[in-house]
Symmetry: C2
Subunit: 194 residues, 2 copies
């Protein structure tokens, strides 16, 4: 079983609270990646969504990719990452959604080629963070546009105090977060939801 307490302790010892409700955990999740830890997260997600018949994992570049890839390895399903940066070699035939970024203070489009999600897919969204929920809603919109079934969302760290997770749960979407932070102060104090 995944040791939630270990993840909490990594957040407490290595995380930095930055102005604007930003939690920086780039020693193991967002810049440097503790691959073994993410693999254990993947195993925990696989347990929680066992029997849900997931056929595809959907995430968004860049920091969601590693968590999603390791989860996909455990669950033995392909991973698709939505593109959020301009690229000259993406199909024009895409599903897209507009997402307001909390961290970066701007709006961008996320896009997924229509080739890689279809109406017979049962999609699990995987991401590193859930804050105001905009990215997750954008991904959910793409799943709906594709006519696929959304089985839920698997999140490493939910910033519960920003409300996105609870809003999305109220919409009837299953959200499984490994840890939920209920309060975070500029002096570095972090309180987890029990």
């Amino acid at each position: 079983m995944f040791e939630i307490e270990l993840l909490k302790s990594r957040i407490l010892t290595e995380g930095q609270v930055l102005p604007g409700n930003i939690l920086k955990v780039d020693s193991f999740l967002n810049h440097q990646i503790d691959v073994k830890l993410l693999y254990e997260m993947g195993k925990e997600f696989a347990i929680r969504f066992k029997g849900a018949g997931v056929t595809k994992i959907l995430t968004v570049e860049s920091s969601g990719i590693a968590v999603a890839a390791l989860c996909g390895l455990v669950m033995e399903v392909p991973v698709v990452f939505a593109k959020k940066h301009q690229t000259s070699n993406l199909d024009s035939n895409v599903y897209s959604a507009s997402v307001e970024s909390f961290t970066h203070g701007r709006t961008y489009n996320i896009r997924v080629s229509k080739k890689y999600i279809g109406c017979s897919d049962r999609v699990l969204i995987v991401d590193d963070f859930l804050a105001n929920g905009r990215a997750l809603l954008g991904l959910a919109q793409i799943v709906e546009e594709a006519g696929a079934e959304l089985v839920g969302a698997a999140i490493a760290i939910e910033k519960g105090f920003q409300g996105g997770g609870d809003m999305i749960r109220r919409m009837g979407i299953r959200v499984e977060s490994l840890v939920i932070i209920d309060r975070m102060d500029d002096d570095g104090n972090i309180v987890f939801r029990e």
Copy 2:
């Protein structure tokens, strides 16, 4: 042992040659990710760099992350991905290099926090593609700036006809590419190096 022939056959059947020497393999590598295939690639890289004492894997966002993460899982070392997009929460204390992108036709800066590569590290660079070699040179420059040892580069697909790989080998850097493409025509014909 990794089946190089399998990778070649995936490239031949699923790859699309686009104008401007672009090879699109987004059904298994750049957009949708065949996680199992990338894990097998990771095992092959681990064999080739066995005994090299790798302590860290370095890649660049976004499409290098999945290959690097799965390689890191096999080799049991942390992965660091250089940031190429603006982000409000990266340290100001970074190593950086300027990289001219072949695919996207512009120059960008890649940055790595000084916290995550140090002079005692033995770094393996992992990437999905090697074309003109600019990204790899930028990453090598960061490794050098950090005073770390570069043990080599592990590449999924090298576009040999663009010359980057051979240029970098001539500099004395070990480059291990799973497949090398020596010719690629607009009609979709792809010739591999023997």
